[in-house]
């Protein structure tokens, strides 16, 4: 892991650029999920850096393109991933030009491997990504590969029962090559997670399920990277990183505002204002 100031600065810069581009994609589509795309971005940038995609050859799968697997279980945040792929110079421009959520475009509303196999798995029906990641991690373990599997879950997503089946499975099979990251922005579609179906005490639940639990500021790349290092040193059990984030991070009127979770049409004024704040690096 490179920890030079220049590299850390580069990650922050990637996140800033990708936030702007994700909003551009969502504005262009006049639909999409801006709140979660903005909260997850710093996590995504750090995991992307770890997975180390060398190229994103449209027809190839992650195992041919990346050192490690990266699964986005909260599929509605995929504009963040498209944007990051593009600002990293890995997404072919003709793909980006086809637009988000448009007929025939590879930038589908939720990840779809029929269009972009490098996404690892199709997702969007919440609760499924961790199971898929367990399969990848178990496969790597059985094949005695040093490959790791990263999976990003939303916090509202944790209300799906399947997720807890997977938490049992990963601990039982001692998948220490698996790292789950929870984008803990405290909000889901309608309201606070604690109003809809409370998750707390979340950390205790993961501990009880036999996982190595870490908690970080999900917008601090130094902290995120440190937690990943700790996760990699763990033996005999999987790690989960509870990343405390702000939904809508970087745009004042979107921050902590559930209305910006879902498919909201953004006005031009809102879009310009948002881009301006992101460009200034509001933190």
């Amino acid at each position: 892991m490179q920890d030079s100031q220049a590299h850390l600065g580069r990650l922050d810069e990637l996140a800033r650029e990708a936030r702007g581009l994700a909003l551009e994609l969502i504005y262009g589509a006049q639909s999409g999920h801006p709140g979660g795309a903005l909260s997850v971005m710093d996590l995504l940038v750090c995991l992307w850096d770890e997975a180390n995609p060398r190229t994103l050859d449209a027809g190839k799968r992650q195992r041919h393109l990346m050192d490690h697997d990266l699964i986005l279980s909260k599929g509605h945040s995929v504009p963040a991933l498209y944007a990051l792929a593009q600002v990293s110079g890995l997404l072919a421009l003709e793909n980006a030009a086809a637009g988000l959520r448009q007929l025939g475009s590879p930038l589908q509303g939720h990840p779809d491997t029929r269009f972009l196999p490098w996404l690892g798995t199709s997702s969007g029906s919440l609760g499924q990504g961790l199971s898929f990641a367990c399969g990848l991690a178990l496969g790597a373990k059985m094949s005695e590969l040093s490959r790791k599997t990263f999976v990003i879950l939303g916090d509202g997503e944790l209300q799906e029962g399947q997720v807890w089946e997977s938490f049992l499975f990963a601990a039982h099979h001692q998948l220490s090559n698996l790292v789950a990251v929870v984008d803990r922005n405290m909000l889901q579609s309608d309201s606070s997670t604690e109003d809809i179906m409370s998750l707390e005490p979340l950390s205790n639940k993961f501990v009880a399920f036999g996982w190595h639990v870490l908690e970080v500021d999900g917008h601090d790349v130094v902290e995120i990277r440190r937690s990943l290092e700790k996760a990699h040193l763990e033996r005999g059990r999987p790690s989960v990183i509870i990343a405390n984030t702000v939904k809508g991070k970087g745009v004042s009127f979107m921050e902590n505002e559930p209305a910006w979770h879902g498919s909201v049409a953004m006005s031009e004024t809102e879009y310009r204002l948002a881009l301006g704040e992101i460009a200034q690096g509001r933190r």
Binding site: Q128, S131, G135, L136, Q162, E165, L168
Partner: protein, 326 residues
């Protein structure tokens, strides 16, 4: 008069389709190191215990958690393995959303093998008697659906899955039957096999109904009625051409399945016939739109109208008027 081929009882180690599956999987795994079996604590029931005994390191215990099991299988397939997900048909449906998204939409070579389909499940009663799996899984894009009618067909289908490039659902069976086979009828994946030639009625059967329909054909022969019997081991995609050709000659096509009359083999055949020139009636034999109950497999088959005598009686009823003219 067309010569009547008589399928014979085939002596073998397995007289249930689930045991045949266990044997076939062991055989495939011996030559293909990518093969894995995933179990949801029902290995003793599905036949997967045979694989566990031979290849404990390639047997993945998933506990009673089918949604996760299907998702894990998809991930293992993405990692380059050939996973077989083994559970009861009713419980496979717990993972339907995962079959759709993680398996089928990703186009991964996961094989879903479901034992305990239909009334064949017997005494466990309605909750375990899956009568809707063929209809439901037929509707999943890109998912091939198989329903073998004998241990021989199970073995052929499992062997073919060694080269799978996409997903499949395979229905086996729980109860013992005196399966009849004709080793002289070649197996070509996807092509219905004509196990008995006949001129008066065409029967297209699947799963354990193949054996029952061969028995029904014996009963009909005593009444002077000659029944052709096809074993349809693949429901989707369905190759109905030979069945339609036969039915155009006999004038009556009866489909038979240990499954709801809604959306299974009968539905698939009727759909295949829609829009093509046909000169025959179609009778869909299966379980009326209802849940089952406890009982012995054959006893239930008789009660719900899919036993050999019931099928023969229904065919005599349908052809009766015509036969009196002969």
């Amino acid at each position: 008069m067309v010569s009547i081929r008589q399928p014979t009882l085939v002596a073998g180690s397995s007289n249930t389709l689930r045991d045949a599956f266990g044997d076939a999987l062991v055989s495939l795994a011996a030559s293909n190191p990518s093969v894995l079996a995933l179990d949801g604590d029902v290995a003793g029931g599905t036949g997967a215990y045979k694989f566990r005994n031979e290849f404990p390191d390639r047997f993945v215990q998933c506990g009673i958690a089918e949604q996760n099991m299907v998702g894990v299988a998809a991930g293992l397939a993405e990692a380059g393995y050939l996973p077989f997900v083994c559970t009861f048909a009713s419980f496979m449906l717990r993972g339907l959303d995962q079959v759709k998204l993680a398996v089928a939409q990703n186009g991964l070579p996961v094989t879903l093998v479901a034992s305990h389909p239909g009334l064949d499940t017997g005494p466990d009663g309605a909750s375990a008697q899956c009568l809707d799996d063929l209809a439901i899984f037929r509707a999943v894009p890109g998912l091939q659906v198989f329903s073998p009618g004998s241990p021989f067909e199970v073995a052929e289908i499992i062997a073919a899955r060694g080269n799978a490039s996409g997903p499949a659902y395979i229905r086996t069976g729980r109860s013992s039957h005196e399966f009849r086979e004709d080793p002289g009828v070649p197996f070509r994946l996807g092509q219905p096999r004509l196990l008995r030639e006949g001129t008066d009625v065409t029967i297209a059967a699947t799963g354990v109904q193949v054996t029952r329909c061969l028995e029904a054909a014996d009963l009909l022969a005593r009444e002077g009625l000659s029944a052709a019997v096809f074993s349809v081991h693949q429901i989707k995609p369905l190759d109905a051409s030979r069945i339609v050709r036969s039915a155009n000659q006999t004038g009556l096509l009866v489909t038979s399945e240990d499954h709801s009359v809604v959306g299974g083999l009968g539905g698939a055949v009727a759909q295949a016939c829609a829009g093509t020139a046909t000169d025959f009636k179609i009778e869909i034999n299966g379980v009326a739109d209802s849940f089952g109950q406890s009982g012995d497999s054959d006893e239930l088959a008789s009660y719900y109208g899919i036993g050999p005598s019931e099928i023969a009686a229904r065919i005599l009823e349908l052809t009766g008027a015509e036969f009196q003219r002969h």
